[in-house]
């Protein structure tokens, strides 16, 4: 099934930054160009040269450089500079596996299986701000059930608060929390503390209904 997965809040991947994420046990590097209109990229987290994780690398303008030998990969995921051989015109076959990536609802969404359409586009509230991504030591299915994310939906809205999850590796989950910008009464800090309570309840196997009810009742402090 072709699908889009929310993998990070956008505040964790700002201009000129690089960050590794895992999606279903596969390593993916997210990086944003250091340019006036900084495009976000999602690639396989592996340099084709020596297999080094590209998430250990560095962003230079609109390219990602590998930490090992400085090979530079441009926006098209093609290698465009090998510093040890600066005169060489790099063959097109030297490239990184690129995945589909979209920015929507304060989150970075990745498709690893070549999904073309992005069904979430234009749906849900506009002007959404990222709050936080948390690691939860529990199966992703448990968290989807608790947060009320429908099987075919990427995100569940509870009033002005959006919750999304993805599976970094089997048995683990990442919980992504976003909020509608216009909801002034929703403090990011209180929302972050609430998410910690939900995480702790899920991990310890305690009842989660009371925690979720706090969200419905607007008692996020």
């Amino acid at each position: 099934m072709k699908r889009w997965q929310p993998v990070s809040v956008l505040s964790d991947i700002r201009r000129g930054e690089v960050a590794g994420v895992r999606i279903g046990g596969r390593e993916v590097v997210l990086w944003r160009e250091d340019a006036p209109t900084p495009t976000l990229h999602a690639w396989e987290d592996r340099c084709p040269h020596r297999g080094m994780r590209l998430s250990f690398g560095f962003v230079r303008d609109d390219a990602l450089g590998c930490l090992y030998h400085g090979w530079q990969f441009g926006g098209g995921a093609r290698c465009r500079l090998i510093p040890a051989h600066p005169q060489v015109r790099v063959p097109a076959s030297i490239h990184v596996q690129a995945y589909g990536v979209r920015e929507h609802a304060g989150l970075a969404w990745v498709s690893m299986d070549g999904a073309e359409d992005f069904p979430a586009e234009g749906t849900g509230p506009g002007n959404v701000l990222p709050v936080r991504t948390l690691h939860v030591n529990a199966p992703v299915g448990v968290l989807r059930h608790v947060t009320g994310i429908a099987p075919d939906a990427g995100i569940a809205w509870h009033g002005p608060v959006g919750l999304a999850v993805h599976e970094p590796a089997a048995g683990q989950a990442m919980l992504h929390v976003v909020r509608v910008a216009a909801a002034q009464d929703v403090s990011p800090l209180a929302l972050s503390r609430w998410a910690e309570r939900l995480r702790d309840a899920v991990e310890s196997g305690a009842a989660t209904a009371a925690v979720m009810n706090e969200l419905a009742a607007g008692e996020r402090a």
């Binding site: 990070s8 590794g20 998430s55 250990f56 560095f58 930490l67 936080r132 970094p168 990011p188």
Partner: protein, 205 residues
């Protein structure tokens, strides 16, 4: 003339790295006596007394072995920027320093288990995972309040010790994507003048 400060240093030891990093960030000059704890006693530097092990910082009549004591001692030396132990945030800094020093001990013990075996065995991670989570939650909140560092407006000695704990948990299988707030903070640490690495702590990432 001998240097005012002498560090008995064992390169791969994580507490020694914390002390080297602190000395470097705070711009101290010191003399190093390299120690290899894998060698017999007779081949270790004569200045190291029986029972003493690196890190050991000797300055005047003072002999300090614990990062939690060495850091404030360095921060109070003349010429060191006050911000490392900012008097306005001293208690918060010392509180996180103590937390970090305890977490560093836990991490050192876990590394000894992980690296001391002939098979790749992961040690029990419960205490360390709990410490990292407390750090992650704290730095998430700090970021939302507009702060960049653990306990004060600028980098402090608490950040130094906490950084070493976080950076070397990579060797124990802690994936970086589980700690996004700490990853951002660690990147900031790497950008400080005088930042230095040790084996297991890459220059970047």
């Amino acid at each position: 003339m001998s240097a005012a400060m002498v560090l008995y240093d064992w390169t791969p030891d994580v507490r020694c790295y914390a002390v080297r990093l602190g000395l470097s960030l705070m711009g101290m000059t010191y003399e190093v006596r390299a120690v290899d704890m894998d060698l017999p006693m007779a081949q270790r530097p004569a200045g190291l007394r029986p029972g003493e092990r690196p890190p050991l910082l000797v300055a005047g009549g003072v002999r300090l072995s614990r990062p939690g004591a060495i850091m404030p001692f360095i921060a109070r030396q003349p010429g060191v920027a006050r911000a490392w132990l900012d008097p306005a945030h001293e208690w918060a800094i010392l509180d996180w320093l103590d937390f970090g020093a305890a977490a560093l001990d836990t991490m050192a013990a876990a590394r000894d288990i992980a690296f001391g075996t002939t098979l790749p065995v992961l040690p029990p991670m419960g205490a360390l995972a709990a410490a990292l989570r407390r750090m992650e939650d704290h730095m998430s909140a700090r970021a939302m309040e507009g702060h960049d560092w653990f306990a004060s407006p600028a980098a402090s000695i608490a950040d130094v010790v906490l950084f070493v704990t976080f950076a070397l948990t990579v060797d124990l299988g802690v994936e970086r994507d589980t700690c996004p707030a700490l990853r951002r903070w660690a990147r900031r640490m790497r950008g400080l003048p005088g930042f230095m690495v040790m084996p297991g702590v890459p220059d970047y990432a």
